[in-house]
Amino acid sequence: MSGLQLLWFILLAVLFIGFFFLEGFDFGVGMATRVLARDENERTQLVATIGPHWDGNEVWLITAGGAMFASYPLWYASLFSGFYILFFLVLLGLIVRGVSFEFAAHAETPRGRSIWRWALFIGSVVPPFVLGMIFTAIMQPLPIANDNGAYNVYATFGDQVNLLTVVGGVAVTLLCLMHGLNFIRLKTTGPLRDRARRLNAKLAWVLYAGEAVFAVLVFVFTDFFQKRPVSTSLIVILIVCAAVVMHVGALKNKELLSFIGSGLSLALVVGLIFNGLFPRVLIGVDPANSLLLKNASASPLTLSIMTGVTCVLLPIALAYFIWAYVVFHKRIAPLNS
């Protein structure tokens, strides 16, 4: 395995962390339109917090997907074809979610508005849940066939839907919701702000329970604790610490602290998966058929070109991306009905 391959494995983790951190709260705000908001005015207030940002946040997924295609084409090909229906469900969620913002703005009747607001909610629940399933499914051994170096994944229903993937899906969805609540605390004034805090403090107990179950299931279903006992245990402990940080932030009304806590939680979950996978990218039931970093990557030339391009473009993109958040730094007030 070369340094470039390692670099791109880490960069992919960074891009997916960026996606879950940003689109995570975005999804959470979408969920909060039903979980937290009590009427259409509150929903509108919530949507306004992510209005200028959701599209940019989603680009992180496109970038991560494109970068995976460019740097690890075999991983991309086997993953996306192996988890066919799950990825399709992610797409469906993102489709109805993406149009819901614009369409809701044009709806002229409460009923029409309500349809697109529901589309936003469903489109905010399904993608994190299913992505959580996919990411926890690849932690487990999969039926991979070499097929002349293609490493096709013949994932059965049970490989995609099992106890770990369902708990994983719920955990990612819950984390996104809590991350969204913390974002709402940072971006709104009025009743929603405090309700988000109280809900977050309550959900923290659910999260602790979920994380405990998740840790046990990772121990039972995956080889992460056996292969990398120290780092895996450390990351699990850090995930719990991040949850505690978030909880403390909710109890002491420190909004930024909570937001950092929930963001770190999501980042660490991605870190846990990438750390445990390494040096594999897809784990075979027969270890000989595992797809490894060194087999899955693009050529050194492509990797070095992509490295150069990313070093130039990502900082520039980040600069204006962050500037957009600075421009819209103000809190959104409740609407007068």
């Binding site: 996306f80 066919y84 399709f88 992610v90 703005a105 050529s299 992509m306």
Partner: protein
Amino acid sequence: MLFAIDVLDLARFQFAMTTVFHFFFVPFSIGMALVTAIMETLFVFKKDEMYKKMAKFWGKIFLLSFAVGVVTGIIQEFQFGMNWSDYSRFMGDIFGAPLAIEALLAFFLESTFIGLWMFTWDRFKPALHAVMIWLVWLGTTLSAIWILAANAFMQHPTGFAINSETGRVKLVDFMAVITNPQLWVEFPHVIFGAFTTAGFAVAGMAAWQLWKKRDAVFYTKSLRIGLWVGLVAVVAAMGMGDLQTRFIIKDQPMKFAATEGIYKDTGDPAAWSLVELIDTEDHTTKADIEVPYLLSILSYHKLHGSVKGMDTVNKELEAKYGKDKNYYVPVKTLFWSFRVMAGGGMLLALVAVLGLFFSRAKNNSLARKRWLLVTLGLTLWLPFIINTCGWLITELGRYPWTVYGLYTIADSISPTTTAGQLWFTDITYFLIFSLLGGVMIYYCRRVLFHGPDADLDTNYGVSADPFAKEAFVK
């Protein structure tokens, strides 16, 4: 008969359906960003509030199109891995990089600045605000370059070698990939087609409003801006199409012969068939209406020169790539698509000239020319059909290859994908696209119905400007 349809057919159908649907909104959005940017720039320089109203009004239509374009675009990136995993493995070393660069360079730009543009009308100075929409436009245009770089490689592979161990494509020269001659005839043609689409769409929608006798000044100005953009763009698109054609004669002679419906080599000089009946079984054509010399002129810009027929090209391809494949492309589709595209382009240019002439400031008689308003209103749909025809020629004309001369469509499919999965996804996509397309057109009509003076602020449903003073507690 359902069982005669196999996984390959279903996956190809899905690719065709999702890309054609996506490509209704892509050129429309790219062009609408340009038209909106032009209107807002006119506001900056002329300080006439009407142009601001115009940019905001047509901007609403742009945003509707952009939303559907974005969500149908995500499918494309996922689809290569989902349905065409062997293709992705074969092409990954070259194909992934343009997609990733497209996201890093173009998608970040357009998505960030479209958010800024939408919500900062009252916060930034007009000139700075206009820069936002130009950056959105730049993002959309850059994205076209990179995705077409990937497509150009599939049409005309450059800068690669075949990895002897894996048999897959390996990048050798990145500059050769992005200076691919196919790319630089294809990109201008596509991008001018995109500007054409929006130009005539704006003109067409404005024409319907004039037909209903609404807001003559506003819609006449909008119509003229649309027609100017459309006229310049359609002429440029035809010029670039001519360059592309002459490249394709040499590069993909089968595609070219099919667009002209030629089975046997033509004589010298070659006559051009306007229409003909094609028999794909016997490889003959009937009822030709021919224009002498024209095919030589079109092909070589000379009064002489013959064109190879498909039967000759087929023999050459069989000698080069083996006799086990069928090299004949869907002739009738290509032949008629080309005629709709080229004829449609000329019709658009004519309509634009007429529209601009009769709406000229000195003697504007457009409102009385009801037939012209109806014609303009109907041509609104034509660019969408033309774009689709162009892509049918380009993509079907590459048959049987996904990567010309290197990799076939049949080899590209995901081995793990089942017919059941594809039936499910095909049907679901079809239903959801019908819904999205229908709703999008419906809301566009409502925007037109309410007119430019309606204070329907589309800040995602925030009826008041969320950034107005009273919206903040501070």
